[in-house]
């Protein structure tokens, strides 16, 4: 049993609400309850009204479905919500087909119930699975409709009083309508929560990265750089002061340089262990385990090499767990790493007391964010022995993105014929519903309703050939009115608030369905699904209260429609030939379920495009951070560290020389002082590049002015009366301007000059313009520079635009909106 990190009861954890499949669990329980009630009703019917063995058989089938549901519940607990949904769906399909075959009138209740598993699956499944599930649902709906209309049944309905059948239909259909609306609402809420959480997580990630930069820069300045300054002063003393005891001074100098190097080495190792780049996670962790004062066992099975951001993330998670075990003087520690398709890593968890004290839920939050950014999840896991362990899991799609393609894209599974069929359906569905990246638009949905009404007109014309009746004129007229009304709503949609437009369309459509049911009562079996369609369409645009009202209205409307279906009607259906009515109803059932699922799908695609964008951006942020850490490690190793060790060796050479020939010793001392001065300059530049210290002290304008002075291109900064902004925003804008400045130096040409303008207007705006060569905007894509800028800025709620043309220079424009009164950064995700 897994739970989010840290323990949920101890405050607000970095919880990922969508990863906890509570929706599936609740649904399975509700489904079980419905099954028990249905079984009880059926049992009563069997006992007192219809003593048929067919009902015994049906009750047995109910029992089998109950077992399947219990198994699905266990699957949810085992963290496999997708498998659970598939099992629930399969069980429901089987019982629906069996029930309709035995008693065809069950078709009156079932079309809506069959939709539920697909609606339930929306937040948990990727596009492939959802498309396949939708396609299968439509096929099963068709089968059930065909059985309902065409099969004679086994004759038990003839033995049942009509009022029992009516009562069953009128009581079960509204429940189904309520559940369908509720599930659609929950789907959207879960996906919105996921997007919000991702957005927050990405922001924390950037903040944590900045904190880390500050820490590294400070350590470099306060540690090795300070020691080198002292060493440099001593060398100057040796060179110019001619002290009495030069050998002793040189000895002290050697020791100091050794200290500085040791400190730098430790720092470098902490920034990015060279072993991780060269030999991967396992080797790097074994070294870390050897250096740890707690006896540590590292068990690794099946590990290979992974993308650097994954390796660094897993390594630093395990390292932190080890360091914490060391800090609390644990007696032993075990780290488990297994790759059996997905990478699972387990490390010691903090003791329960530490978790309980962590009321804010900050413990390991940064690590959880990092693991999440690379596509995995980090949790606390209760082991078989009752102990807690830190438990990370990174799925296959995140481990080898180049091999598996995008997690939401098409993945070719093994070629069993069943899988082929399944994915054939999925592909057709996906092709029909492809809507890449666009948010669900209210107009698209209303347009579909307009099309449905318009499509009914030729259908009615066709019916008039078979059934020439005056009532058809009434039907045609009301269809035309509905069509016109919906078109009006569509035209007004861009003026009206989304929720008003969608509710107006929903009301008109439900009214139409009611009229059709009154005129042709046999369509009542399809009316509930038709009435739920507008709710599914409306869900993304409704606030909670209004949704509840809408749901209640829908349930009422569905009840009215079902009751209307029991009325005699106007005699239209009796005139039509039997085959025609059957065909029309089967077709209507399939079309309705397609339309309902299509809207749910549209919501999913829009939201998943949003979350996918956020996810990819977060992963890029982690990857960029790791690349930078690797670069810092390399720069330190090849630069300052080599100079310091060279200086240490030279001090020993100087010691020996001073004993004999003093003249060459001065030459050695000169080289020694050069080494130390170079090492110090390198450290200072590196620390400045990692985190410019004057940014915090004196603000953005001065820090950028300083950067402009160092730039190889002529650059000026203009900013008047710029106020201070939160550090996260200032640093983001600083790095974006710096990146733009570096790009100008690289691409604008030697004669170019750059102007950076900073403005305080509803937030912070910056413009970096160069007078260089410019380029074709199409060639801007690709490369880390622009993407980095975009990721950083959007993470703090900002936007970035680049304007360029050949010969016209490059203009980078960025804007970060104001933080609100609570100091919260703006969010891109909202509910209408």
């Amino acid at each position: 049993m897994a739970r989010p990190l840290p323990v949920a009861a101890t405050g607000s954890p970095p919880r990922a609400p969508w990863t906890e499949p509570t929706g599936v669990r609740t649904f399975i329980r509700l489904n079980l309850a419905a099954l028990v009630i249905a079984a009880a009703v059926l049992g009563a019917v069997r006992l007192w009204l219809v003593p048929s063995h067919w009902i015994d058989l049906l009750l047995l089938a109910f029992l089998a479905v109950g077992v399947c549901l219990a198994r699905a519940h266990a699957l949810v607990d085992a963290d496999r919500p997708v498998a659970a949904v598939v099992l629930v769906a399969a069980a429901n399909w089987a019982i629906a087909v069996a029930a309709t075959a035995i008693a065809p009138s069950a078709f009156n209740v079932l079309p809506l119930i069959l939709l539920l598993p697909s609606l339930l699956a929306v937040p948990y499944m990727n596009r492939v699975w959802l498309a396949a599930l939708n396609a299968a649902t439509i096929v099963v709906t068709g089968v059930v409709a065909a059985l309902g209309r065409l099969s004679p049944g086994v004759g038990i309905e003839a033995m049942t009083p009509g009022w029992v059948l009516d009562a069953l239909t009128v009581s079960f259909v509204p429940i189904g309508a309520g559940m369908a609306s509720y599930l659609a609402w929950k789907d959207h809420s879960a996906m919105t929560a996921k997007a919000r959480d991702l957005e927050r997580s990405r922001r924390r990630l950037v903040a944590a990265t900045d904190g880390e930069r500050r820490r590294i820069a400070r350590s470099l300045r306060e540690g090795p750089e300070r020691q080198l300054t002292e060493a440099f002063e001593q060398i100057q003393l040796l060179r110019t002061g001619r002290p009495a005891n030069p050998t002793q001074l040189l000895g002290a100098l050697t020791a100091q340089l050794q200290d500085a190097n040791a400190e730098l080495r430790e720092l470098t190792h902490g920034i990015y262990p060279a072993q991780l780049t060269e030999h991967g996670i396992e080797q790097a962790l074994r070294t870390a385990a050897r250096l740890c004062s707690v006896p540590t066992t590292v068990k690794a099975t099946g590990l290979t090499r992974y993308p650097p951001e994954v390796e660094a993330t897993v390594y630093f998670c395990c390292l932190r767990a080890l360091q914490d075990a060391e800090a609390r003087e644990a007696t032993s520690a075990v780290i488990d790493l297994t790759d059996d398709g997905q990478l699972v890593f387990k490390a010691p968890a903090p003791p329960p007391a530490a978790l309980a004290a962590d009321a804010q839920g900050n413990l390991y939050m940064d690590l959880a964010d990092r693991v999440y950014a690379v596509g995995g999840i980090l949790r606390l896991h209760v082991e078989a022995d009752g102990g807690l362990r830190l438990h990370g899991r990174i799925p296959r799609t995140a481990l080898h993105p180049e091999r598996t393609g995008n997690a939401n894209g098409w993945w070719e599974p093994g070629v069993t014929s069943l899988a082929r069929l399944w994915f054939f359906f999925a592909r057709q569905w996906d092709r029909a519903g492809r809507n890449d990246g666009a948010e669900p638009s209210v107009s698209t949905g209303i347009r579909a309703l307009v099309a449905a009404a318009a499509g009914s007109l030729p259908l009615i014309a066709a019916v008039s050939v078979v059934v020439p009746d005056a009532w058809l004129l009434v039907l045609a007229a009301s269809t035309a009115v509905v069509w016109l009304l919906l078109r009006r709503v569509l035209r007004a949609a861009h003026r009206l608030p989304d929720r008003t437009a969608v509710l107006a369309a929903a009301t008109v459509f439900c009214g139409y369905v009611l009229v059709v049911t009154l005129l042709i009562p046999i369509t009542a079996s399809c009316a509930p699904t038709m009435m739920v369609i507008p709710v599914i369409l409306a869900v993304p645009y409704l606030p909670h209260r209004r949704f509840l009202v809408t749901m209640a209205a829908t349930i009422a409307a569905v009840t009215v429609a079902v009751v209307a279906g029991r009325l005699p009607g106007v005699g239209l259906q009796e005139q039509a030939p039997e085959w025609f009515a059957d065909l029309a109803i089967i077709e209507l059932a399939v079309l309705n379920s397609t339309l309902a699922l299509f809207f749910a799908w549209e919501n999913q695609v829009g939201m998943s495009a949003l979350t996918r964008g956020l996810h990819e951006s977060a992963r890029r942020i982690v990857a960029a951070t790791e690349r930078e850490r690797q670069r810092i490690e390399r720069d330190l190793h090849d630069g300052a560290q080599q100079r310091i060790v060279a200086a240490a060796v030279e001090t020993r050479v100087a010691q020996r020389l001073l004993a004999g020939q003093p003249e060459p010793a001065y030459e050695t001392l000169r080289r020694l002082s050069e080494h130390v001065a170079d090492a110090r300059a390198e450290l200072r530049d590196l620390a400045h590049g990692i985190y410019p210290s004057q940014l915090a002290r004196r603000g953005l304008a001065e820090a950028l002015d300083d950067a402009a002075k160092r730039a190889p291109t002529r650059a000026t900064v203009s900013a008047t009366d710029l106020s201070r902004h939160p550090p996260l925003i200032e640093l983001s804008v600083y790095f974006c301007c710096l990146e733009a400045l570096q790009n100008a130096a690289k691409h604008a040409g030697e004669a170019a000059s750059v102007t950076i303008t900073l403005t305080d207007l509803d937030g912070l705006t910056f413009d970096v313009r160069d007078t260089g060569l410019g380029c074709d905007p199409a060639t801007l894509r690709g490369g880390h520079g622009l993407t980095n800028m975009q990721d950083r800025l959007t993470a703090v709620g900002g936007t970035l635009a680049v304007h360029t043309a050949p010969g016209a220079g490059v203009h980078v424009h960025g804007h970060v909106p104001m933080v609100d009164e609570d100091g919260r950064l703006p969010s891109a995700i909202g509910r209408g």
Binding site: T287, L291, R656
Partner: protein, 124 residues
């Protein structure tokens, strides 16, 4: 050891550190410079061409690197003493370091005394 002095080959990809090692060899009377190389491959070809008694070699270099070169030299020329140098401590280096038959010395502990003592240990 024609002149009674051991000839030393310096191998490092960073010129600044080669310069420092040259200074160390220059102040030790028992040693003379045999040559310099910037990679493991280059060091092997120098040893093939001319007699060398001792090789001071960096571990991390482009190409085959110090450890593989040391391994090769110890097999082909068992009487050549190879000293591997690195800015990283031994535990942070690949396992081959201990099995290739070369001495190891941390760069910041290196100096004339260290060079002489390493030589004394191997060729008393």
């Amino acid at each position: 050891m024609s002149s009674g002095r051991a000839s030393v080959l310096i191998v490092d990809d960073l010129p600044a550190f080669r310069r420092t090692l040259r200074d160390v060899v220059a102040v030790c009377e028992r040693f003379e410079l045999a040559g310099e190389a910037a990679s493991g491959e280059e060091a092997i070809s120098v040893v093939e061409r001319q007699p060398v008694d001792l090789v001071l070699m960096d571990v991390k270099m482009p190409g085959i690197g110090g450890i593989a070169a040391a391994d090769h030299l110890r097999r082909r020329h068992p009487d050549v003493v190879v000293v591997l140098l690195s800015v990283n401590p031994a535990h942070a280096l690949p396992a081959g370091l201990l099995t290739c038959g070369a001495e190891f010395c941390h760069k910041d502990r290196f100096g004339p005394e260290m060079l002489e003592s390493l030589w004394r240990d191997r060729c008393p």
